[in-house]
Amino acid sequence: MSSTKIFLKSSDDKTFEIDETAARASETLKNIIDGGCLDGVIPLPNVSSNILPKVIEYCKKHGGDNGSSKKIANGGVDKDKEILPDYDEEEDKREKVRVDELKKWEEEYMDFDQQVLYDLMLAANYLHIKGLLDLTVEKAASMIRGRTPDQIRENFNINSDFTPEEEEEMILIEDEWDDEWAFD
C-alpha cells in the first residue's frame, strides 16, 4: 500500500497531512486522487480546521475501508461464514475482536457535543464518507427515537414557531395521531 502524503486545506486556510490510503475513505478525495487532479494541496472550502482533524482521525482508523461499518451492521463476519468454503475459526475470532475493538473506538470517537455532530455530519456528507455519515446520523436519530415532540424540541433547541391558530391545529393533529397510536 502506498504511503503517499496528501495535504488538505481547511476553509480557514490551515493545512493538514493525511496518508493517501486514509484519504481514500472519502469518495470525494478518492476521486480527486484517482482523477490525477492532485496539485499539491486539496482545498476543502466547506470544512473548517476545527473539524478537519476529527475527520482525518476517522479516515485514518478506517484507512479506505468503507465496508467496516457495514460489517458491524450486518453482525460481524457471521454472514459470510456459510459462503466461504475454507472457513477459519481463528480468523473468525480475530475478526470478532477487530469488530469489537472498532465498536469501542467508535463509541469514544462519537463522544462530543451537538455542534460538532452537525459539523461532522456536513463534512462527511461533503466528502462522501459513508461510514462517518452513518455514525453521525444514527446519533441524531437516537435523540429523536421514541421521544415526545417536547423532548425532541428540547434536545435540538427547536422553536415551535406555529401561530396560535396553527398550534391549535397541530395539537389536534397530534391528538388524532395519538388516538390511533395509543401513546402512553
Binding site: D134, V137, N159, E174
Partner: protein, 126 residues
C-alpha cells in the same frame, strides 16, 4: 408553547435534505411522521421519505389492530409526496386484499406524478 425560553442554536432544522432523509429513515415510521408537529420547518420533512416500512412496531402501537393500521397507512399515503422506492408491510394483522389494492391505487396515482416507477411492494403477512 414555551415561547419565553431562551434558546440555543437550532441547526438540525436547516440540515440539507439528503442528511435529513438519512436521519428520518433510521426512525420507525410513527416517529418519523410525528416530527411534523415540531415546527413549521418540520411539518413536511417526512412526507418525501422514499422508504415506508410498516412493521411489527406499528402493530404494537396501534393496539386496536386492523382498522387502525389500515387507517394509518391510508392517511400516510395521502400525505406522502414524491417517489416511494420501498413500501413494506410485515407482520401486520391481515390487511385485506381490497386494502392493498386501495393502497396500490394511491401509489399509482402518486407515481403518475413522478418520472420513475421503482415501487417495490413486499407483502409479508400470513
Amino acid at each position: 408553547m414555551k415561547r419565553g425560553r431562551i434558546r440555543k442554536v437550532d441547526r438540525i432544522s436547516d440540515l440539507p435534505l439528503n442528511i435529513m432523509e438519512h436521519i428520518l429513515t433510521r426512525l420507525l415510521i410513527r416517529d418519523a411522521v410525528r416530527t411534523s408537529v415540531l415546527s413549521k420547518k418540520w411539518k413536511y420533512k417526512w412526507v418525501s421519505l422514499p422508504e415506508l416500512v410498516f412493521d411489527y412496531s406499528l402493530q404494537d402501537a396501534l393496539q386496536n389492530g386492523h382498522d387502525k393500521i389500515v387507517k394509518f397507512v391510508d392517511r400516510l399515503l395521502l400525505l406522502h409526496r414524491g417517489l416511494i422506492c420501498q413500501f413494506e408491510l410485515s407482520d401486520l394483522s391481515s390487511p385485506s386484499l381490497s386494502d392493498i389494492h386501495h393502497w396500490i391505487s394511491l401509489e399509482v396515482m402518486a407515481m403518475a406524478c413522478s418520472a420513475s416507477s421503482e415501487t417495490t411492494l413486499f407483502y409479508n403477512f400470513i
